[in-house]
Amino acid sequence: MQSLNRSAIKSRVFIIASLNIYDSRGMLVSEEDILRDFVGILEENFPQAEQFRPRDIPVGVGKFIYINDEDIDRHDDLIEEGTVELSSDIDSIGATDLEPNPVPVPVSAVDASSALIGETNRGIISAVRVAIWTQEPGKQAQLYRYGPCLAHFTDSNADFLFNMFQQSIFGLPRGRPPQLYKMTDRLRNFLERLGQRVAASTINEGIVLYDGSLRAATVDTPLKMLKDTIEGAQKRANSIVAIAKYSTLKTSGGDTILDALEGILRPCVKDVHDLVIHKYQMQILGRVHVAKFTSDGFAFRTDVAPAPRSDSTTALRTLIHNATFCNGYPEPLRQAHIHAYFTPDEILTLQNMAVKKYNMKVLRPFDVRRCILAPFGG
């Protein structure tokens, strides 16, 4: 059975305006305190709405259905960020074998999921969950789950919420919040970045695994935000390995860089960083690789920001020694994924909770695609 630390399940009642991100000495409290305290805060500061239309939940008993709206929500952003073509032929770079580096180190991994719960007459209700998986040599692994954080984004609070993260927590200049429907993913990104900082703070001289890339200066991740996160990790002599399942980096022939290791049946890596066009290179806070961690696994875009006095290949070899892999994907990151994603029953739970707590009238779930296209692609 799941060993659940029930005493840790608690609701902290704050009001956002008085969220204590500074302690009594005026120092910023730890990211973990912020992340932990954040659970429940948004619920306690839920703008009242009269009507709620729950999101249509996918059905399919017996099928595995996970919900993470990140890919949907980020779709527009990815188009905006565009596909990046490498400056020269990837085949000119040789693959370096990855032999395990037999040094036991701690590994932590972070992932976050977001889901739209439904729409109100004032905005949208969303949920975000962050999962951090930590394992240290000779010790039992530890899972931390923060959330689901239930948030109601309206035109009247979007600016406040966005800048609370942007300014107060990440120390960035004040910005303009995105459109309401994108706030879910922004909240996920803010909390995931906090999670990444927490994950790095729990280990020393280890490896922190991120889901995605180390690209900054994007729509949702200002350069400083990621830079501070990476520097924080490196201060503890941690290497950061960001693993992306998909990549917008293409070869001149139009193939994804993930094809670069096709046919090689051994753990290996290609450092393609220098092939990335300069403008794009500047946005990446590490080195870009294509890596295969197991002989029979998939290849992944792997960005590495090594610890001081280390290098990318050593970091990857150390990772191979300290983690197990599932189809070539590191198990710690897989576990973080598994425990961050939402399942349909959880979405239903959050919908019930929102309706009951905030006394909203429920409208029937509605999917315009189903109404106009079903059964053809609806």
Binding site: N5, I9, Q142
Partner: protein, 487 residues
């Protein structure tokens, strides 16, 4: 609770077990107040709702094994999540249709109509249902309380009138079937009816006393007979048909020997000298050597049963015993630890004699037969549902081996009291005993706790009720010899 779906004659009701409790056997009303119609349904199964995502959730939780988990969620979330995960559905059979006119509700057979999903779903007050079905104690001249409706603890009373047929009590050992048999017997005695009990475990005579050992009100109404002790027959009383039939059927005597024996019997009868000793002597002296040995061996076996006496004063007659319970009561015939010959002789003699007496105008009576397959013959089963029944013997069969009851009897059954059973073969065998669907028997029988049964038939106007047997004001425990006295 809300109606979700209808399949055939079943509806699926969804409910939150934290808010509402539903039990198998419970009666529920689904009323569409707008149109003044509704349904009376009965829960036959409950289960967890298979929501999309539950499997993932469980696997996610179980797959991480013994690692430490620290989870920061709002306190409310955990409760809401448990509610969603634990949502249940009740599968219920449509039993009746309800009509409401001027606030007056009437139930009738279902016409196939169903309410919409907005209908109000409420648990039924069983008093209301009993009134609707006409099962009201004060309206019966001969009330018999079967037990309490399990989930409302309201007594279920019927009329002894409805027990005048064939009733079957089935269930696993220790499930309570003997208890309800005893309850029915006492209720019938209260109504001045007479009964004969083939008591395979010698567990009815203790009802003559109460728990402290003193006499119960039924002390004189229950007459225990023990074959070979105070149940002994003369040969003229038993008659040649039963006597020789037992020798042939049970003891395997050949037809030629039977023919010769019948002749000797006739001669002794003619000389007015028929007795067991005289028969024995005549066989020894008159029969030829080959046949004699075969008959003598069998007569020796009968002698050992102590069932036969020559002196009429020491003999028992059913007529005399029935006289003792003229104002209602029961004759219990102890078959416990009796050998096959004894059981066969006693049962055949009693049944044959009863048939004779009923043909001569004896008042109808009830026969209680526990594990009847151990002593009834094929012809008895056939007689039971034809001649005997029409002559006025009403039968109550109790068994933990339902497949041993002949289909002939099952199909003629008027009442069924079904205790816990799990074997699909057993359930399929007894299904024709009721007018209800096999799914109800199948689902309910598996879910019945001890001392609880599904009662259905004439006694319940064919509406199935889950009832708990009532405690009796007498000693009821059957005694089993144990080697290990403690657990």
């Amino acid at each position: 609770m809300q109606m979700f779906r209808k399949y055939g004659d079943e509806v699926i009701l969804i409910y939150n077990p934290r808010m509402e409790n539903v039990e198998v056997g419970e009666n529920i009303k689904i009323v569409d107040t707008e149109v003044g119609r509704g349904l009376v349904v009965q829960v036959i199964e409950q289960s967890l709702v298979d929501l999309a995502g539950i499997l993932e959730d469980i696997i996610r939780a179980e797959s991480i094994g013994e690692i430490n988990v620290e989870e920061y969620v709002s306190a409310d979330y955990e409760q809401f999540h448990q509610d969603v995960r634990n949502m249940k559905f009740a599968r219920a059979k449509i039993r009746k249709e309800l009509t409401v006119h001027d606030r007056k509700e009437n139930v009738a057979d279902w016409t196939g109509w169903i309410p919409d999903r907005g209908a109000t779903v409420t648990s039924i007050d069983d008093d209301w249902l009993l009134r609707q079905l006409g099962l009201v104690a004060r309206e019966f001249k001969h009330p018999v309380t079967l037990g309490e409706i399990t989930y409302t603890e309201i007594p279920l009373t019927t009329s002894a009138f409805h027990l005048q047929g064939i009733s079957i009590i089935v269930g696993k050992k220790g499930s309570g079937k003997s208890h309800i048999g005893k309850a029915l017997l006492l209720s019938l005695i209260d109504q001045k009816a007479k009964g004969i009990v083939f008591d395979i475990n010698d567990e009815y005579p203790p009802m003559r006393c109460i728990e402290d050992g003193s006499k119960s009100p039924y002390y004189n109404s229950i007459v225990p007979l023990d074959p070979g002790t105070n149940l002994r027959f003369t040969l003229p009383y038993v008659g040649p048909d039963v006597f020789i039939d037992v020798l042939v059927t049970t003891l395997g005597m050949g037809e030629p020997s039977a023919y010769e024996l019948r002749n000797i019997w006739a001669e002794l009868e003619e000389l007015n000298q028929l007795s067991f000793s005289n028969l024995y002597t005549a066989v020894k002296t008159h029969m030829d050597g080959k046949t004699r040995g075969a008959v003598i061996r069998r007569l020796d076996l009968l002698k050992q049963t102590d069932l036969f006496v020559d002196n009429e004063d020491s003999a028992t007659t059913i007529e005399a015993e029935l006289e003792k319970i003229a104002n209602g009561g029961a004759i219990t015939i102890n078959l416990k630890m009796k050998n096959k010959n004894t059981m066969d002789l006693v049962v055949q003699a009693v049944l044959r004699k009863l048939q004779e007496l009923l043909e001569k105008g004896l008042d109808p009576l009830f026969i209680f037969a526990e594990e009847a397959h151990m002593y009834l013959r094929e012809t008895n089963w056939a007689d039971a549902v034809t001649r005997m029944r029409h002559l006025g013997t009403y039968q109550i069969y109790m068994t933990n081996t339902p497949t041993a009851i002949r289909q002939l009897v099952i199909r003629q059954a008027d009442n069924l009291f079904l205790f816990h059973l799990t074997e699909p073969g057993d359930l399929a065998h007894i299904t024709p005993a009721t007018r209800i669907d096999p799914e109800t028997l199948d689902q309910v029988a598996r879910a019945l706790p001890p001392r609880t049964c599904l009662a259905v038939g004439e006694t319940t106007t064919h509406y199935p009720f889950v009832i708990t047997t009532k405690p009796l004001p007498v000693q009821t425990a059957g005694e089993t010899r144990l080697y290990f006295k403690e657990k």
